[in-house]
């Protein structure tokens, strides 16, 4: 079981990486008036067949060969649904997959969002060949991190070189703080 929503996001986004996506977008949107926290992970990877989509929520379905269970998606779905929220996967083969999870913000059963900046930092610096488009939104304030924009500025300097990854870490943390004023989501 994961202890933070951000760990579920890290795990489920690895599926996009393994699906050979080149563009992965991750959006976190908290709305205190509507009392919801929405997470959307969308990629342009290989997608899934109808049969795979039907099976992906089953913990005993996995495409791996190292073990017989696949808990990533079931964990994420459970985390959303126990709050009274919802969960959905849309996928088109050869076009991509989108995962939607909606959490009820005030539910006592909702795990904290946790260190979402660490999740994004890990994803971006470990998969420098992919483009990440990250949106973090709380009520009417938001910030966007688009690695395509960073790469345009940097040219051939890699995103995981120490100076750049340090900048990315600072960018994520400072902007997050400006958007949510340090409240714990």
């Amino acid at each position: 079981m994961m202890t933070e929503i951000s760990l579920n996001i890290l795990d489920v986004a690895q599926n996009s990486v393994r699906a050979n996506a080149t563009q992965i977008s991750i959006a976190i949107k908290a709305d205190t008036k509507k009392d919801c926290l929405c997470v959307v992970i969308a990629d342009n990877g290989c997608g899934m067949t109808k049969e795979q989509v039907e099976n992906v929520e089953n913990p005993f379905f996995t495409t791996r060969t190292t073990r017989k269970v696949g808990l990533g998606v079931p964990f994420f779905k459970l985390a959303a649904e126990i709050t009274g929220g919802s969960f959905r996967i849309d996928s088109v083969i050869n076009e991509g997959t989108t995962v939607f999870a909606k959490f009820v913000l005030s539910s006592i059963d909702r795990m904290p969002l946790g260190d979402i900046s660490a999740t994004m930092y890990t994803l971006i610096t470990m998969n420098t060949d992919k483009n990440f488009y990250y949106v973090y939104e709380v009520d009417d304030r938001k910030f966007i991190l688009d690695t395509a924009e960073f790469k345009n500025i940097l040219g051939d300097i890699p995103l995981n070189s120490p100076e750049v990854s340090d900048y990315i870490k600072g960018f994520l943390e400072e902007n997050r703080h400006e958007v949510d004023n340090g409240i714990v989501l």
Partner: protein, 119 residues
């Protein structure tokens, strides 16, 4: 708000340094298992600790990467370290504190930390 101007100045500074990138075969590899099992067991702080140590110490020729599940889920978080010319060493049940110790002993001083390796 951190600006993109700052990124531009990083680029200019770095372009001035002539590429001294190490060849693949000379790299020490730190590989952290980051599948569901690893993440649930606490792999993210382990990975971050190694990245931070490399950054803070300005260590050259070290690459921190991730891998999927290697089938030993009960021993996660698992970290594999390969120093060029030596056998791969597998550390198990890691956390951020142990990662710092392993970095200082194994990466910096070349001493394998036996107590955290798999028997």
């Amino acid at each position: 708000m951190k600006s993109l101007e700052e990124l531009k100045s990083i680029r200019e500074k770095m372009q001035a340094q002539v590429g001294l990138r190490a060849e693949e075969k000379d790299l020490t590899r730190i590989v952290v298992g980051m599948a569901t099992c690893g993440i649930a067991a606490g792999a993210r702080p382990v990975l971050t600790a190694f990245s931070d140590m490399v950054q803070q110490n300005g260590t050259k020729n070290v690459m921190v990467t991730q891998t999927g599940c290697i089938g030993l889920c009960m021993y996660e978080p698992i970290v594999e370290i390969t120093v060029p010319g030596s056998e791969k060493v597998t550390y198990v049940k890691m956390d951020a504190e142990k990662a710092k110790e392993v970095f200082e002993q194994h990466i910096v001083r070349g001493q394998i930390v036996d107590k955290y390796t798999i028997k």
